[in-house]
Symmetry: C2
Subunit: 351 residues, 2 copies
Amino acid sequence: MVWENELNERKRTILKSIIDNYIESAQPVGSRTIARKHDLGLGSATIRNEMADLEELGYITQPHTSAGRIPSDKGYRFYVDNLMQVQSLAQEEMMRIRKAMDERIEEINKLFRKASHIISKITGYTSVVVSPQLSRTRIKSIQLLKIDEKSILVVVVAGGGIVKNKLIHHDQVVEEAQLAKLTQAANLFLADKTIGQMTMPVAVELQREINIPAEVILAILESVDECIRKIETVDIYLEGVTNILNYPEFSDLIKAREVLDLLSEEDVISDMVRSAAKKHQVDFRIGSENQIDEMKDLSVITTSYGVEGKNVGTIGVIGPTRMTYGKVVSSIQYIRELLNKEILRLFGDDP
Amino acid sequence: MVWENELNERKRTILKSIIDNYIESAQPVGSRTIARKHDLGLGSATIRNEMADLEELGYITQPHTSAGRIPSDKGYRFYVDNLMQVQSLAQEEMMRIRKAMDERIEEINKLFRKASHIISKITGYTSVVVSPQLSRTRIKSIQLLKIDEKSILVVVVAGGGIVKNKLIHHDQVVEEAQLAKLTQAANLFLADKTIGQMTMPVAVELQREINIPAEVILAILESVDECIRKIETVDIYLEGVTNILNYPEFSDLIKAREVLDLLSEEDVISDMVRSAAKKHQVDFRIGSENQIDEMKDLSVITTSYGVEGKNVGTIGVIGPTRMTYGKVVSSIQYIRELLNKEILRLFGDDP
DNA sequence: TGTTAGCACTCTGCCTCATTGAGTGCTAAT
DNA sequence: ATTAGCACTCAATGAGGCAGAGTGCTAACA
């Protein structure tokens, strides 16, 4: 799509200057600014000519005749692919992040929230952390507990200290010993097939064997399934939504509202962030590259974290297309590493 | 504070007209408008004089010399206390609400979220539902489960189908039978005192009796306590935050941002909504009556729901001081009733 | 042939000024 | 006690003019 050699060295330098400048100032940048600031030994008129070319090729546009140029989505795309320098974090910032992440957090959801919070603080944009999707195979055990005469608690334990439960009520008599047997049966089954497959016929057989009413067994199975579904559901930790109000591109209230509304829909976010990123890579989705129309002025930067390919979640930053890409990339990478370390600590060498 | 008889009948009528008008139009209202719209058989000049009085008494203010009047917080206060008519919901709206609440929801948190959502939809403001705070006395039972050689799952069950759990890791050997004994002991204790009191000395005694290492016992106790804390923690369901952007009083981006930031802090919200409302009453906090400075342009309307005085939570609506108080009151009351019914269904006659 | 100085032109942003309209307060008449 | 009338105030609106930033084009230059 983008013809790699379409741009010679000089055009690239100029394009980079324009974008760097625009990212910083949010103002259309003109030929004189470039000529003065980064002295390339060129006069403004020359740069004007080059800019005319860049515009024709679609990398930059003019808001109106007598204004400077601003990058187009295509321009940003070329920038992140070829021109951008990853701007490493200041020592002081790294300290700050490490310090914040260092206090041992024992609950995984708090860890994610914290990570998300830090990202939004450090970048100044909106951040998303999506928890890893745990797969069905990682269920460790199932427990059934008699709470009182009429209720049974179903507990499903997965790797990484994740536990979900559901309380069910019934009006049959069920003995503790019977439950224990059923628990055993369920766990045996689990080693083998998925619980979802353990339906009617199996239930009937169990009923004969253990003598628990079929409807109770079914209710239990349903609850187990629900717990598993809950375990498989990813959580979304969104932080710093109001940050976008800081940027002039959203000083229009209508637009701002549109974006804020968008960000309050969880499914949109999870779509948004569904990263195409390969391991250890950072993925960019710039402006109109997002499917959703309301996002044409937003960019999303994502990367995935997690151990050993399985069990991966996503970190993302959402901001205006005019984003400090270089800075965000390094932030996101740094936090990914810290997050990986913490997860390894929490999940351990858990199968 | 407000001298009930400070205002004669005519002044009241005029004040009510001003406020009704202002709530609708968001424009300062002048004497002629009043004279024309609600014909009280009075000329505009008369009304002008009355308005001058009302201003002197502090019920209304002038944004600038030649503008109409707008209500002050004191004015609104008098309005909600003495003048406001509760504007009952349209048949069609009641239908809509009932329909939305009618689909049986089995999980209590989903119920709250839904209720909150409906409130914000129907009123057009931001809504909060705070879950009931369950008290320590309502803990039903404690369960300890051996998950594997190195981990124990602590489960605490409270009334109303609420269950919290925590997984702990250790590197001692603990037998299932020992755990069972400990479970028994803990539950006995629970009937009596609160778990929080079961500390070191008791732990030592138990250790001798059951022969579980003291540190494991302590870890378990700590987890139990944490679960109880979690049960006691209220959840906050906030919906429609971006609605405030619809109102002209927040068309200033700085202000809007301030408010949005405020609304994203959970503890502020829970403070905000901590209702002084007596049972079946609706409580208003208008503008500067809120302690927080950033809220001087916001009003909060709250009421409490829940069964039989115990187990109460709060419903609240947050909006500009220029709020459609009459409408909000009836919405909030209607939804409270539906919510109460649902809760009764879910919690049943649960002790 | 590539580069650049110079110039005419364009467009936005901002300032000022006048006008309009809504509303008030006061006074005098009813 | 009420109100018509009038002078006055102030915000909002829009027109006109100016300054500044930037462009495109042309012609001259190395």
